[in-house]
Symmetry: C2
Subunit: 248 residues, 2 copies
Amino acid sequence: MKLYVIGLGPGDDAMMTAEALRAIGDSDCIVGYGVYIDLIRHLTEGKEILMTPMKQELARCRMAVEAAASGKTVAMVSSGDAGIYGMAGLIYEVLAEYTDADVQVKVIPGITAACSAAAVLGAPLTHDFAVISLSDLLTPWENIEKRLRLAAEAGFVMAIYNPASKKRADYLKKACRIVSEHLPPHTPCGVVRNIGRAGQESAVLTLKELEEYPADMFTTVIIGNRTTKVIDGKLITPRGYRGVDGGE
Amino acid sequence: MKLYVIGLGPGDDAMMTAEALRAIGDSDCIVGYGVYIDLIRHLTEGKEILMTPMKQELARCRMAVEAAASGKTVAMVSSGDAGIYGMAGLIYEVLAEYTDADVQVKVIPGITAACSAAAVLGAPLTHDFAVISLSDLLTPWENIEKRLRLAAEAGFVMAIYNPASKKRADYLKKACRIVSEHLPPHTPCGVVRNIGRAGQESAVLTLKELEEYPADMFTTVIIGNRTTKVIDGKLITPRGYRGVDGGE
């Protein structure tokens, strides 16, 4: 009947919305990748749990739609915001295949990593910014490269998702070199690992230093623009209220 | 002592995080623009309220820092995420002026309009996107124009904040014309007004139709890219799980 597509935020209950918590509570069945289910294991007592491994996104969405079509209230969960590099789009695409199913989808937004990383680092996103994933599993690398280049040229601060994985160890370095065509090596940047979870780490560093940072799949990266600065160890992009233009 | 900079999300308590609610509860003093204070009036009983009119951002931040420096626990609130076109950056800048003050700042992120609007419209932000404000109060219009043009060229979906005001009635139309250099007139777009508040309205429309949409300062606009499509009235940018590249 009802299919909630829920963004859990970074993972800690305190950073979920009341709406997300309530929808999980109302659901008979929780669907998700194991790592996300583990984040809310304590909220799932007595509920049916449906999991698929990574890279089984399509199967997972079909599972969720079928469970909802069978009359259950279903919560499909993921970290961050379910609408940002998340499952919300695929759920709608899959639902369109089930023309007879009476399923109402409700997307419940969550705190995405750009926002939670920015809050840890200071206030780097107070002006225009771009969100870019370095994963080339689903996107040709040339497209990613083009976006990095144009985003730097446009003066966007960048929030970089999926900066690296075991197979893509040097992608962040490649990305740094591309944006360096438009940004000086001392441009302030920041990294946050395991946001809102045990073992959270963060650092403010220069674009040149970022090239060598050992990012992993739990890292979110912020690349500043020409106005971004470091104040008392915090990464700040001025909005311009003090007469400093927040543009380029 | 403690200064929380809190994003309230769209306005409804259900879309605030538990962390935001707890920080408001812990605070002696709430600082904000009147419209934001009104969103949480029911949570402020017995607390000191400090307000300034719009365009008094610097004065408001000084008020908040001074209250915290005097030993109070202070919550500076704004809608959406306090780090996105919000006060978080200015708070850090102002704090640096008060070299003797012992004030600990904590930014508590909230659901920003890009995320909440996307959830209402469907799933338009499941791939790379750019967030752009059309307000030229603090940014020269040429910079805004350049960012719109390069974002469209890069294939970013765009979330447009501050698309219009009384003085800037035609800015959305100007923006649509600029991105039309790179996007066809039938490109799917969406608008949401008063997200999560009384009188919420939304529409899915083409880029050509968006030109004539009477946006106001409570409207968030999404401009799709070449892969964005409409499925059963919902605005969807495929991530690529079905073999359709989410890029351009």
